[in-house]
Symmetry: C2
Subunit: 426 residues, 2 copies
């Protein structure tokens, strides 16, 4: 059996071949993958049943078991996702710049796949399908390591997907499944072969990956998202946005962890917002000003830097939008932050000065998601400012190269002044 380093090195040399496949070939592979998934549903469901059995025997909690499940409705979901992906335009080969530098000397900047991508993701079988198909559509080769709780389902899905991709004519090294946990550290050492790592999972896990590899890492550790309710907010809008952002799904990075309220309207806003949150089952932790207006737990300094991922929220009164911006830029994780206000100028200031991937106006932070942005799906959400920011779909899986063509043009002629550039976009 080949080591991960050998597999990755082989994949690296195959990646230009994968990059050179046509959109038709890649779409054909997606169509066949979808058919193969449907045709092999029984085998896949059987593998998943075995995983669920094992999880129950190991005493895995019920909400997590639910996430491990891959049933008819999950299958339908991923198949619909693949159909959407087929219909999306080719992210590869887009001309971003075409410039005549001088007579006969033409520069073209064209998008191309990143190359070899390693994705380490949680035990969620639908994630394996989404990630592998996003990588194939964007012309990348991928090393996939899914959570071990769905090992059997992952293997069944991977075999079906890989066979269908090869059958459609994609290079044999386009996908590889990493199965053993020990192989992750081998993967982290493949900085000569792997162009990008996308780790998904707990904060500690993502930080561990970032600290133990020289491969560029795309992803996010924290998700401390804020909602700031301005003095000129519409109360019902504020309640709707805050309750959705906090409670619609608590265990995710785009859920709201801290609510900031403008002092000028705090006496009206705080009691109403705290009551609405508590009615939704949320534990509220307020600063002194909040506690003077509503009955709740006290917040400590630590609360402003805490990602609860549960039905808890911290609430703070701030002077105005500028203090809110300052608080968010200091304590936030540059993920997604929202303002509720009827004043367009205040909203613009907030969206301009908050230094986050998503800056929202009168909208719940929970919208930060590749599907909801119309990207088809996402491989993850990036809080880095480099390359891709926010939900990462096909666009974030390509880079570009510069193609320069001429007829014997040499730099000496330009250095000596014999010729000069005229830079004309064509």
């Amino acid at each position: 059996m080949l080591s991960i380093a050998e597999v990755a090195a082989h994949m690296k040399l195959q990646s230009p071949v994968m990059a050179a496949t046509s959109l038709d070939e890649r779409n054909e592979a997606l169509v066949r993958i979808r058919e193969a998934l449907l045709n092999n549903r029984d085998k896949i469901f059987a593998a998943n049943a075995a995983d669920l059995d094992a999880a129950q025997k190991n005493g895995v909690a019920a909400p997590i078991v639910k996430r491990l499940k891959f049933d008819e409705s999950k299958l339908e979901g991923v198949c619909e996702g693949i159909r959407d992906l087929v219909s999306l335009p080719d992210p590869v080969g887009r001309v971003q710049l075409r410039r005549e530098l001088d007579q006969g000397l033409v520069l073209v900047r064209e998008t191309c796949p990143i190359g070899v991508i390693g994705v380490i993701f949680e035990a969620r079988p639908d994630a394996l399908v989404q990630i592998s198909t996003l990588c194939l559509k964007s012309g990348n080769c991928a090393l996939l390591k899914g959570g071990s709780e769905t090992m059997r389902t992952n293997r069944a899905l991977f075999e079906v997907i890989h066979a269908a991709a090869i059958e459609a004519g994609l290079p044999e090294g386009c996908l590889h499944q990493v199965e053993a946990r020990e192989e992750i550290s081998e993967l982290l050492a493949c900085d000569e072969s792997v162009d990008l790592l996308i780790p998904r999972g707990s904060n500690e896990f993502v930080r561990y990956i970032m600290d133990h590899t020289r491969i560029p890492v795309m992803g996010h550790a924290d998700g401390i998202c804020h909602v700031y309710v301005d003095a000129e907010a519409d109360l019902q809008t504020a309640i709707d946005v805050v309750v959705d952002a906090k409670t619609q799904y608590v265990a995710v990075c785009n859920a709201c962890e801290t609510l900031l309220v403008a002092r000028e309207a705090a006496s009206t806003l705080v009691p109403a917002l705290v009551a609405a949150l508590q009615a939704a089952g949320v534990e509220v932790r307020g600063d002194e000003e909040v506690r003077a207006l509503a009955d709740c737990e006290p917040a400590t300094d630590e609360d402003w830097d805490t990602e609860y991922l549960s039905l808890v929220i911290s609430v703070k009164v701030v002077a105005d939008v500028d203090e809110a911006i300052d608080h968010i830029n200091r304590h936030g994780s540059h993920h997604t932050d929202a303002i509720v206000t009827q004043n367009a100028a205040t909203a613009e200031r907030f969206q301009q000065l908050v230094d986050s991937a998503g800056v929202y106006w009168n909208v719940s932070t929970r919208f930060a998601d590749g599907f909801r942005y119309g990207f088809g799906a996402e491989v993850g959400i990036s809080t880095s400012k480099l390359h891709a920011r926010g939900p990462v779909g096909l666009d974030g899986l390509v880079t570009y190269k510069y193609k320069l063509s001429g007829n014997g043009h040499v730099v000496a002629d330009y250095a000596s002044g014999k010729k000069s550039f005229h830079f004309r976009d064509i």
Copy 2:
């Protein structure tokens, strides 16, 4: 005096203010910087004279002393560069995507500055001017550490530039000069405040930086560039391109280090190319097939992975374009590689399959440069595939943010099926 960590933390909080400056304000600052440089020429030249004196006393070699020099012609050069930069369009606030997700729910992806950039660069005073003005034009704050051999010139230039920028209304924390070498390690630890590091200099130095910081690093370590001369090459074009790529300036990353020649035409091409290179003073190191056709030194396996940065070239005979591509993808540094051929299909295959930032056809590799691409100037050249690739100008100094606006839109309505997205680009 503040520590680098304190300066960087302050700069980080000022960076959204800098990001919110208008194009007029940033251009006005550039205009004033240009005037101030011209008005303070005597002070700057005096500082440079002191640096040059010190260098000569320290026995610095003449070609390096030349690079340290900042005279009337260098001043003219940077002033012309600033004028070009003023005329370039605003890289900030460009709308990359505007999409209605549902009625009243609008997503906008807009470019914005990266934030705080640390640049560590060689002792070349003109680099300080170029880098600081590129950062300001793109709305970024910058920490600048220049080579210590031009310490006095750097200080004089920095004072003039910083004062003019502040006078034009840019935030006081937009630029900071790092002077002591010991402060570099402090800077590397500022991963909470510094968004991007751009190190320039020797391979060892860039590698050292990459290995000692959690801050994303943009740049390149090696520059092993190739020219492949195809069997269908025009001989004179091949000679022109190869000689320019090797000799026009040897101590730079985009100079050619290895020449590959197609076997089918080797008996004609090799003698002519080797003779032309030797006539230009180049030491040629060939493999056995090359040595059977022309008198030259023997190449060892190590030569294919060596960046000479001097008048030395390795030459190898390959079967065809595919072997050339394979050799380049294995031994190259993904920087810039060129093919010489009259066959458009062969050129296309090469430009498609070579996995480098620049893939050139009938053109010298020496064109890989921000000025020659029409970017005004460059902060560096990136061989990373993430974010920016190749010469990095204004475009590589911005990222984007997603602005989402609605009127109380909540995810619960979409999760429950009460509402659905329609994704319409507007």
